[in-house]
Amino acid sequence: MNIQGENKTQNRIYSLLPLWIVVGIFMIGPLLVMAVVSLMESNVYGGVHFKFSLSGYRQILFDTNLFDEIEFNPAYLIIIGRSFMLALVATFISLLIGFPAAYFISRQSNRVKNILIFLVTIPFWTNLLIRTFAWIIILGKGGVIESSFNFFGLLDEESSLNLMYTNSAILIGLVYSYLPLMVLPIYASMEKMDLRLLEAATDLYSNRIELIRKIILPLSMPGIIGGSILVFVPCLGAFIAPDLLGGGKKLLLGSLIQFQFSYARNWPFGAAMAMFLLALVILVLIFNARLNRKHREYASQK
């Protein structure tokens, strides 16, 4: 008996319709709007002129000078490069902290494990903006760090450590914001790991370091790759930490885009940058998919 009726394919399409609508309106729609905007001319009072133009994209690399000549302008490339580097470093630091943390959590008893994982997710319960403001209080002039240095006499009242408004401050903010996204996937892959393999490796004369390098690291690779993407991608477009902790002195990709839409009123340029960022992210994901496929092929070659 065919309960679903004659036309299964049609049924499947109709029953998934709500999903398609949600995905269409909330995900693909805005992207398309963005793509269209990036191909328009800018309007100085905000919004766009509905006229096709590639000026948004051209502006990423070229600038029009006083004599109306088009010349190469590396300023935005530098911003992109800086963002890339900061995101990369932030991802690396997150990995350095997240990997041991995930390992530690995965070795606890079930009860402790659940509590620790719960603690890792707690920061998500409050707004990122507020949490980043808290870092101003910690890092800033006369903040928590400086006053404790003062208290112990390591720093006199007049001078400052100048922690705020530096790349380090931005990095601290980024790592802080996205560290849980590194810990969780690594934890998930370590949780699945057969602990008897560690026993077997120890039995075969592995010391602690070899245990990590030869067994734990390769077996938690899927989690490490997943976590790195989850951290790297939002770091690349982040603007809250760079603005609040970096003081916006050194522009980053995320801040730059946000700036184009809010103050500079150059929507096409902002949209073009956003599309460029999207392209970068997609490139990273493709690279990762390649890596994964290679890993899988390697794992199951017949």
């Binding site: 026993e199 077997a200 120890t202 004369y205 794992a299 199951s300």
Partner: protein, 359 residues
């Protein structure tokens, strides 16, 4: 063996207690045993008896609660597992899934920093030994259970351990393969000359492969001896029952000593040696294997024993005799198959030396 035996492993007064927040489990109680060099030694017992715990203590995966373990006269209790010259074949093989067969087998040699040519030579040598040379580039998940078993064996043998520990390595294989592997393991042990410590709950495995067996129950060693010894003269009821089939006949002692005499509740008298601590009229339990009992035809007025069950096995038969509250199992040899049938009244005889006072 006339040559002097070298002690490979000495387990002295070893006790292991697992402590969790509110319970204390005594997995091993004051265990003592000596395993000789070049020996195939089996730890046999039901699951949860502590045999695996003992193996893990030797390997170093568990901390010892009390006692000491010597490996070739060197105390090893305080050494971590990676510093002990013993290797383990795990029950679930635990091959490294991200490494191919070659790298799995070479793993121990690489950790010992052997040079590349030696590693390669030795790895291929042991792969050859377990007939897995053609599979060197495969991943563990592309191998069958039996093949994984061989690789696990090769991996543990490659670093030339002084003692090889095997934790129920055959239990995950199907019957035919398991039987074939028994011979292979035994041959391998003889060829390599490495001391094997083998853990199993399968008495047949233990009897066919071992040089000596230690029977363990509830954390205590019940008996240590050669397979024959364990089977023919078990030291207590547990050993008698756990290994092979056993009849326990109840009665009382008439005279003790070397030429003692006991009378069973079935009315039979048995001549056998009765330990001197059993006095006249004490209750005794007498142990005898089903295949040792002889039965002869009788009639209703002479005997109260009748055949209550008759199970045909093809090459033999087992019958169950009932008299009042006593049940006796007897294995019937093939030439007697046609002679007896269910319901017959029979009498039993105990050949000299076949029965033993066990309690």
């Amino acid at each position: 063996m006339t040559q002097k035996k070298v002690n490979a492993i000495e387990v002295k007064n070893v006790t292991k207690v697992y402590r969790s927040s509110n319970t204390e489990t005594r997995a091993l109680r004051n265990a003592n045993l000596t395993i000789y060099d070049n020996e195939f030694f089996t730890l046999l017992g039901p699951s949860g008896c502590g045999k695996t715990t003992l193996l893990r203590l030797i390997a170093g995966f568990e901390d010892i609660t009390e006692g000491s373990i010597n490996l070739f006269d060197q105390e090893i209790v305080n050494l971590p597992p990676n510093k002990r010259p013993v290797n383990t074949v795990f029950q679930q093989y635990s091959l490294f899934p991200h490494l191919d067969v070659y790298e799995n087998v070479a793993f121990g040699l690489r950790r010992l920093k052997k040079d590349e040519s030696l590693t390669k030579k030795r790895t291929m040598e042991v792969l050859e030994l377990v007939q897995m040379k053609d599979y060197a580039t495969r991943k563990p998940n592309q191998l069958s259970g039996g093949q994984q078993q061989r690789v696990a064996l090769a991996r543990a043998l490659a670093p030339e351990p002084k003692v090889l520990l095997l934790d129920e390595p055959l239990s995950a294989l199907d019957l035919k393969l398991r039987q074939a592997m028994r011979y292979e393991l035994k041959t391998l042990q003889r060829e390599t000359g490495i001391t094997f410590v083998f853990v199993t709950h399968d008495q047949e495995e233990a009897l066919t492969m071992s040089d000596r067996i230690a029977v363990i129950n509830e954390g205590e060693i019940q008996q240590i001896g050669e397979p024959e010894q364990i089977y023919e003269s078990p030291s207590n009821k547990f050993v008698a029952n756990f290994i092979g089939e056993a009849n326990f006949l109840y009665g009382f002692c008439k005279t003790n000593g070397e030429n003692g005499l006991c009378e069973l509740y079935t009315g039979h008298s048995i001549n056998l040696s009765v330990p001197s601590h059993i006095k006249q009229n004490d209750k005794v339990t007498i142990f005898i294997r089903p295949e040792r009992i002889k039965i002869v035809k009788s009639s209703k007025d002479k005997s109260q024993l009748s055949i209550s069950e008759f199970t045909y096995l093809g090459n033999a038969a087992t019958i169950q005799l009932k008299s009042n509250e006593q049940i006796i199992n007897v294995n019937l040899p093939i030439e007697d198959l046609k002679v007896f049938k269910k319901g017959d009244y029979v009498d039993i005889e105990f050949p000299k030396g076949s029965a033993q006072v066990i309690d």
